[in-house]
Assembly symmetry: C2
Homo-oligomer: 366 residues x 2
Amino acid sequence: MPSPSVAAQSLTPAAIQAAYGLIQPHVHRTPLLTCKTLDTIASTPQAPEALIGTLFEGQTPARPQFRLFFKCENFQRIGAFKARGAFHALLRLLEDRGEEVKQRGVVTHSSGNHAQALALAASTLGIPAYVVMPRISTPSKIAGTQSHGAEVIFSGSTSIEREAVVADIQAKTNAILVPPYDDFNVICGQGTTALELEAQHAEAGSRALDAVITPIGGGGLNSGVATWFSDKQTRVFGAEPSFEGADDCRRGLQAGKRVEAVGTLTIADGLRTPVGLLNWEVISNEKKVAGVFAVTEEQIKSAMRLVIERMKVVVEPSAVVGLAVCLFDENFRRQVEQEGGKDGWDVGVVFSGGNTTVEAIAKLFT
Amino acid sequence: MPSPSVAAQSLTPAAIQAAYGLIQPHVHRTPLLTCKTLDTIASTPQAPEALIGTLFEGQTPARPQFRLFFKCENFQRIGAFKARGAFHALLRLLEDRGEEVKQRGVVTHSSGNHAQALALAASTLGIPAYVVMPRISTPSKIAGTQSHGAEVIFSGSTSIEREAVVADIQAKTNAILVPPYDDFNVICGQGTTALELEAQHAEAGSRALDAVITPIGGGGLNSGVATWFSDKQTRVFGAEPSFEGADDCRRGLQAGKRVEAVGTLTIADGLRTPVGLLNWEVISNEKKVAGVFAVTEEQIKSAMRLVIERMKVVVEPSAVVGLAVCLFDENFRRQVEQEGGKDGWDVGVVFSGGNTTVEAIAKLFT
């Protein structure tokens, strides 16, 4: 296997275009939605009082102009963008290794959405699937994974605990590992989100996208999106939760070194993992990713409330960290004010998934 | 003013087409969504145990085949179909009476969505608006009404209490009453929902719609939809909550006489009012409305959970009574099985609105 820095050189827009050709029959072209109310809220300066107790206390609130374009991967198959990467990885495996894959099966570990995605792709393509999930995963995600015929094996929550169980299963079954994010084919699959987003934005108007912002957990989505836009003017940003150090990518960029382990129970349960090696190669390249921001649990909840109540769209907490950056991060908002000026910015915001339950929503808001 | 039975003769598809021409610049063409998971659930026979304690206990569960097409008026302006009727009523008022309307203003009473709709239409068209709302209305609906510049006056919950306050305001201001549902122009506006639904369904395939089902509160939506389809093969059905006698329309049809007052606190708060006089003229005409069914509070909650968790779409309880009929009413399901046979039915299901809050969702599901 090539080293991450060598493999990263093959992550090109052409590789993502090729992935799209392969997965198109299996995934939805999810809608790109707009919402005037959210544009207005995002384009209104925050109250000075809202900045008290934050890094921005005492500053004059920024006056950015936003036109937001929401790429709704919560409407994707299995309710998250992960279907793209999982289908692509398995279709490439079948291309490369043929029938052997159907005999050995595939294995992965995931807090939920990659699990369901791999289970769906595997059952669609006739491949046995073993999925290692943390015991504390959202029950609907466990049920979803099992409903697609995958065998679920439980583990602890940290990536170290999960990987140990995966190794155990591989030893027993000889199943092929399909990593949730640190994988060339998975990244190319997730990057197709950007290809669609750009095309749909172009259909909606003549102006180019100024920026796209996505959540960063392991970094599969963000590195794929950044790869697609790497030869274009559109800036790519990432967003993370700050709770209990979940902003490993942001901290790693500051320190000039990838953070290798994270122990966080942020409500954004899809973003509890550290950024992968190959993902880091892309995201730490400042020509590809223009910045990574972190938001608090309260800011995530505020953004989630707005999307549910104003857009009438169901999102999981991980899905709205990018919107929360647009709404609350004064550094990002200042950049949009200064670089966008009066015209403002057209910003693509990827809603990564919508797998939650009414009970989980109730728990967050009572 | 003509009597309801005379006015009902002018409720024709052409009147709805004309309404559409007038309101089109002001309303959204809301999407028509499908969901394979919900089709599968609706097309699976209920478990015999699920029928215990219901009217259908001991029967063999029906085996209907459904293809459901959800007309998402929760994505309409102000989050409900009511924007259609309100814009149409005010545009006609301006046509008929001109500047006088802007001097006198308009007044209405509403549990929420018509209130917001009238407030939006009035502010858009430069007309002062007074809105009488029950004190116990959802706070987000009160705030939404006020945010459009309408003056909100509180009242008790029953229609008798509300109408008394309206009369009081009319005496003081000379404002013109725009009823929430019992009104020719309001009904024509709401009927444009059906016009779009039919066109969008035709775009999606070659088959004709077998049926459409909508919620019935005051009956504005259902009578408008039934008017549109009155010269076509598509059957129109209505759905109500059964809690505390909220199924006034169903009971009225059984008794052959409109029920004039209802006192219910069903969770479907948009459906607490009795059917209006003009609405009754349409709905009680069996050539126009083929049947009205009632569902329990638990069935409404089950349907709402499915829409939120599986479709990732936010609906208010009132919006899903039609879906609940498809899922749970064995009489309706038997009809689909018997008349639809192997091919099943294409059923348009109108989601009437999505105005709820995360707190309200939490309260329903904890």
